[in-house]
Symmetry: C2
Subunit: 615 residues, 2 copies
């Protein structure tokens, strides 16, 4: 099947992404940084994710017909979770379908939340009166009279006088926090951009923004090229120590990829890189260290101490980011060795300091970061969830892209949904969680995580399912999801005993982390008023499956669980658009108490217990 890119444009947000044919609008929106509400977990039942497709609309699905009225269907309304993109479309996303975080940040009535876009970068178009004998003040003082006091960068001091004289004393001053970084010919106020990045261990996402009005102009996502040096942070830390140039190799790999992402964003939005004046970066501690060229060696040794903690505001050229020559780069503040700027960004994006607590945020990535807000204080921990949920270290695992089995349920036999609707190529995180949940519910996997052998299987298991339990050449059990057969060279798409162990480790680590934080705060699961699931793929997890395997504790009402999407990117965006938010982020980072789980009292017992799937 030929891979085909389809353009999906979201209005009134003005964002667009290219996705593979067959991608759901829900997923496309997530990739564009729009978090659509899905209280039912994308099951097509709650109707909250309704969007309007304005042309070339697909025929309604059964779910659409169940939930939406005939008039709505005629008007192009569809469920975003069910709609698979078959042609380039423009999608109207009503405010009511969007998850609240973004509005809480930039548009709510909360007291000290910035209501306007007030970034560090400010442009002022001026028409100055040319100097005369009576009014012979220096050029930059004349400019200050129009735009307010500033300090000037040397490159702009060098050209401002000639620019003023060649262009009738008119032009646009570019100020970064009261520092004059450029003086441009003509009125360039509509060319004032910034770029926000989430630097994940596995995935990097960038978003181009107008710094004039906060409008989003494009999103781009790429693999972190450092995966070739190892798939988790510890292997990156180790690699940095293996040779003199290894740290810089990794740094340059990321910087090159970022440059490519910026190029792609600029090409898409038809703007010049020289009109991007600031970049904001949120990533975990190790990713931020490597981005900044700071050796992460000590992050690999007890007591896991980061070099820097406060946000770094440095010239973008010093990081090698090819944007405006006077541009700034803001790298998010760090909480501790494994709780980094991405967590701070998440707290900032979701305003965890204002949520009615107790509240829990779980960011599921290669590391699972957990933050508990209670009584105005914050506890944070990081768990080595491993890259299983991102498809790595799983026999037939893959990222949530074309060909990935992203949903699994048992209905007499295995039913599945594949991204792109073609034959499956592997299984991604959400499919994996579904599958393990179903295997547990049907008694095929024991609470201890043992894939039972044929003779141990419970009574009454549908034969089509029982048939899929086989023994591999290694003598271990396996569950055949698609194709293949026992002893054959091509085993098809299978789930191995080892895969189940990886899932067990990941869920166990996260659940034990949650337990320790709750215990430290002296509260229980039932006290939680909300649970925020963050992370690029979080949106596609079904809550019931996540609770079935113990990734989230049982006993939390589904209504309390919200998917908040890529909060690392959202936080970077907020920091780019508001220096006040940035200040709040710095303050938040210092308010968080970092809990080192590996040395926390009772962690090993909790972890051992959490390794058991709920029965």
């Amino acid at each position: 099947m030929k891979e085909q890119q389809m353009r999906v444009t979201f209005q009134p947000q003005g964002r667009s992404v290219s996705v593979l044919r067959g991608t759901t609008i829900l997923e496309a929106a997530a990739r564009a940084g729009l978090v659509i509400e899905t209280p039912c977990g994308g099951a097509g039942t709650c109707g909250k994710c309704r969007v309007q497709v304005t042309a070339n609309v697909n025929a309604p699905t059964a779910a659409d017909e169940r939930v939406l009225s005939a008039t709505e269907l005629n008007e192009g309304w569809r469920l975003a979770c069910r709609y698979r993109v078959e042609a380039p479309v423009t999608v109207h996303v009503p405010e009511t379908s969007l998850f609240g975080s973004e509005h809480q940040i930039l548009a709510t009535a909360e007291s000290n939340v910035p209501k306007e876009v007030l970034p560090a970068i400010r442009k002022s178009y001026v028409e100055l009166s040319p100097p005369t004998l009576e009014d012979d003040g220096p050029d930059l003082l004349r400019l200050e009279q129009s735009v307010g006091a500033f300090k000037a960068d040397l490159p702009v001091v060098r050209h401002v006088a000639a620019t003023l004289r060649a262009h009738g004393f008119k032009g646009t001053a570019v100020l970064a926090d009261h520092r004059l970084i450029d003086f441009e010919v003509g009125d360039t106020r509509d060319r004032c951009f910034g770029v926000a990045f989430d630097i994940g261990t596995t995935t990097m996402v960038g978003e181009l923004l107008s710094l004039r009005d906060g409008r989003e102009l494009g999103v781009v996502s790429r693999m972190n090229p450092q995966v070739s040096f190892g798939d988790d942070v510890l292997s990156r830390i180790k690699h940095a120590a293996t040779c003199a140039g290894c740290l810089d190799d990794m740094r340059l790999a990321v910087v090159r990829e970022l440059a490519g992402m910026i190029d792609a964003l600029c090409a898409e939005a038809k703007i010049g890189r020289e009109h991007i004046y600031e970049a904001a970066f949120a990533g975990n501690t190790t990713m931020e260290h490597i981005l900044c060229g700071v050796n992460p060696a000590q992050l690999g040794e007890l007591p896991f101490v980061p070099a820097h903690a406060r946000g770094l505001l440095v010239p973008a050229v010093e990081l090698g980011i090819p944007i405006h020559h006077g541009a700034l780069a803001y790298v998010f503040p760090i909480i501790g060795g494994f709780v980094g700027g991405d967590t701070v960004a998440g707290m900032l994006a979701t305003r965890m300091d204002r949520i009615d607590g107790p509240a829990l945020m779980v960011d599921i990535g290669t590391n699972g970061e957990i933050v508990l807000a209670h009584n105005g204080s914050f506890l944070a921990a990081s768990t080595a969830a491993g890259p299983a949920f991102e498809g790595a270290r799983i026999e037939c695992g893959m990222r949530g892209t074309h060909g990935a089995i992203e949903k699994v349920f048992f209905d007499g036999d295995v039913r599945m949904e594949v991204i792109g609707n073609g034959p499956p190529a592997g299984i991604c995180g959400s499919g994996l969680i579904d599958l393990v949940a179903e295997l547990l519910s049907h008694g095929i996997v024991s609470p201890e995580g043992q894939l039972l052998s044929k003779h141990e299987l419970p009574q009454g298991l549908p034969p089509a399912i029982a048939k899929r339990i086989q023994t591999g050449n290694d003598g271990d059990g396996r569950f055949v999801l698609f194709g293949g057969s026992s002893g054959r060279a091509k085993p098809g798409i299978i789930l191995t005993q080892r895969d189940i162990r990886e899932v067990q480790l990941g869920t166990g680590a996260i659940r034990a982390g949650i337990s320790i934080l709750l215990r430290k705060a002296g509260i229980g699961v039932s006290d939680l008023k909300s649970v925020l699931i963050a992370g690029g793929f979080g949106n596609f997890i079904r809550r019931s499956s996540a609770q079935r395997i113990g990734l989230l504790p049982a006993g939390i009402d589904h209504q309390k669980i919200r998917y908040v999407g890529n909060t690392s990117l959202a936080g970077a965006k907020v920091a780019l658009l508001s220096t006040e938010a940035r200040r709040q982020g710095e303050e938040l980072a210092r308010r968080v108490k970092h809990v080192d789980l590996s040395t926390a009292e009772g962690f090993h017992e909790e972890f051992a217990e959490a390794m058991l799937f709920p029965s």
Copy 2:
């Protein structure tokens, strides 16, 4: 005669310079940045300039014997203005012999004058407790707990963690205005230096300072290599416009020379360039523009508008100054097109805002800058005095160095003093002023500036002097100071009619400027409470001669005239040692009203009148 360098060391100031054999201690001190009191103008009569030569002392001169007691003579006390260096010596300069400006700035009891050295650069030696499981805070936060909050430069973020771990969590933090620019191994607090520069049109002077205690560690003076592009600021401005690379050629010429001066200072003080963390520069508007690579084109056109005005604080590497990689460079604020950072530095060094006014400062260089302080406000103007007083554009002119006739008086015949006591090679500024004053007093030059012909000479002129008035090949009159004779190929050292015109222009411009400023302030010469003569050679001018030729207005009591030396350098030094003084300088610069003499009402009449020497 072989030129021979002699080392003169001043105590307790701890400064030293190398001078040519025969240089007076007064001049050597001036070159070392020490301004010795000379109310008599260096005539050997007032005894204020007494110093003690601790070994290898010369025999007393007649002046010494007149002024000092036998005991004092035995103890090595001598008059600095009479003592010619014949061997390397150490000179004790008592507080009472020093001109007050330096002490007024850094050591007086005046209310808001900094009593301590409080530079932007601060070093703190720390011994941190290494992180533990219980105390796992990030490295830079740990450092902040010891040295206070800072923002960190990327290069230091990159190495601080490794440096801490390799050296037991001990080392020296280098902070520049709450920015961490380095973290050094060991305790380096005694290696904390800064360098102050006066960038003159003709001469550049640099001084190395300890930023820990303000101690001076050396002074070096060089020609501004830009003189090869023209001897005044207008020719430099023109040269910058002649080719694309011409501005940069001039900039690089200065930067290379500065690098050489820094090397010389470092070698002399036996320190490393990497321990110089800040440089401060004061120069006229054009010199500062060129130093910063800012095209001075508009300074050559009405209404003579500078590009920048506020002091520039930029990374030293951006100026190309080879000191510490994170060092700062401070370039003095500018008042107007021809009243620059050197004037601001002068006002700061002499604390003109605190002087009991009305007070006048005249800085005699290639430009003559004039500042009038009255009733808390300041007027400043610049006059194109021309480089005559620095020896340029004078037939036999030269700088005040070996072989220069630096003093002239008539006593039956011409008597003169030559720097180095050898045969004269030319005449420098102070000698030129003396000579013209004597020619006027003896009626040989008319008030109109006409060198009279033999038959016009007054009665009773000593024959030895009358004989020196000759007619050159061009038919113009000339005064033969040394050697030569009329019509011979080698005319000796002469003063031409054209030379007298140059002196007339220089003195006329300065005196007219003084008149205009006084008139604008509504006061007269007799209202002035003090007149400060600044500039590298100012110290060597005899007040009576300066008043005789009209360089300074008649009617000012000699006691009111003070020589304050190179105040541009002194101001740069003060700014380097105190951020508070720097702030005051910025404020002073903005309080000064810039008077453009060329368009000032009545200037041309004043100038025409001032072109007449006083009768």
